[in-house]
Amino acid sequence: MLIQTVSLGKKYKNGIVALYDIDLSIDYGEFVFLTGESGAGKSTLIRLLFREELPSSGQILISGRSTMRLSKKDIVRLRRNTGVVFQDFRLMERSTVFDNVAFALKAVERPWDEIKKRVPRVLERVGLAGREQENVMHLSGGEQQRVAIARAIINNPIILFADEPTGDLDPRTSMELMELFNEINEQGTTLVMATHDKNIVDTYNKRVLTLSAGRLISDSVGGWQL
């Protein structure tokens, strides 16, 4: 099993409980939708899974290892094997497409020769071939999200987490991006995507985990559950 949670809970310092006793498991190569209303706990669960936050109770196991007791070295290794994409893209605004994507390789200290070769290849994969030198702020929302996806997958992660990646995009652009996510998944990357877009969930016949008020209320295949 790639991802496993056991009685996972998150209570914030201000007393708000975001998640209660989540038990789930996700296998290698799966494509899983995480759905629910706003505030149901989707983003919190994603943040816990990629270890941006630590749980207040329970366990998260990635490839059988608890993420709570990792050394700094292992945390770094875990992060190099996971990619993240957000609703608001989180790009470096003043930089070019190339620099934004290359940054992910520079940060993990890949040699410059390798960076020069790999960035155009991943841009081609996300449908932005030849756009290297454009400033990211001159791109459309959908294109900016493609840059963010390129940045997230350039290190060939085993898992890609996406938190409402189409939340700010129009339906047509959303569907185009979903095709890209589908392709990435078909090439072997496990995909966990939080979304409250019923249309997307209904279109793709994937596993759907539904959260409501911090609890996992259903785990089924295909279609919106609420």
Binding site: F50, R79, T82, R90, M92, A107, E109, N155
Partner: protein, 294 residues
Amino acid sequence: MKLSSFRYIVPQAFKSMFHNGLMTVAAILTITISLFLCTAFWLLIINVDANARQIEDDVRVLAYLSEDTTEDQYAAIEEEILAIPGVASCEFVGKDEGIKELEARFGGVDLEETLGGENPLPDRFSIMAETTDDVTTIADKVSNLAAVDVVRYGEGTVEKLFALTDTMRRVGVAVMILLALAAVVLIAMTIRLAVMARKKEIMVMKWVGATNAFIRLPFLLEGIFLGLFGGLLALVLVLLAYVNAGDYLASTISFVLVLDIGQVWLNTLVFTLAAGLLLGIFGSLFPLARFMDV
């Protein structure tokens, strides 16, 4: 950490300094002023110290003769002085010679004219002791001679100078601590701003699995550069000021001993750069520990 990563890290530190603009200037100037004052103070102390030591090493006793002493008595007085144990030599200095000496020490001023043509100096004997230990006993004995009015040697002056350098050291340490604190705070504020400005990049670096060292090193380097630039500026300024002040003192009060720049520049260089480096490291470690827990 790979060596090739410094191709990213070093330019990043400079970019960030440039981006921080006024804050960078303020931090560098604070370090410069702090280190300039500390170093100037230290130079002052070692020079006063050197002067005190020179006086301490002085084996001369000056015996000023009373006004009613006549020239034919001089030879007898000289013999009496030479008879005192521990006296190495004894030289007569007449009042005219005395005032010329004084004029030379004050840089060639015409003292006689200033004093309205009158020479108030008494005649004196300049006595050299064999060792500094003999100086007090010789002075005692010489002052008992009937023709001798006043005896002068380094009494009191040395103690006063050493007391002065002692006080200066204590005040200096307190001032240095305060200035160093100010410099560290300013560097810390600058680095904090730099961290804030690059928050998004830091997040991305974390997500893609950059190591702590890789994320923090540009900021640490930025602090170090701030410290070193400040130190370098302080070094240049303090040496310039030292040379000018030394020249000025030498031309006005020539009996004051000013240590040659060759004797002080190396210590000054090591101190300013090392202090700048340390201030930079401390200043950047605080915000990094506080604001960037990965």
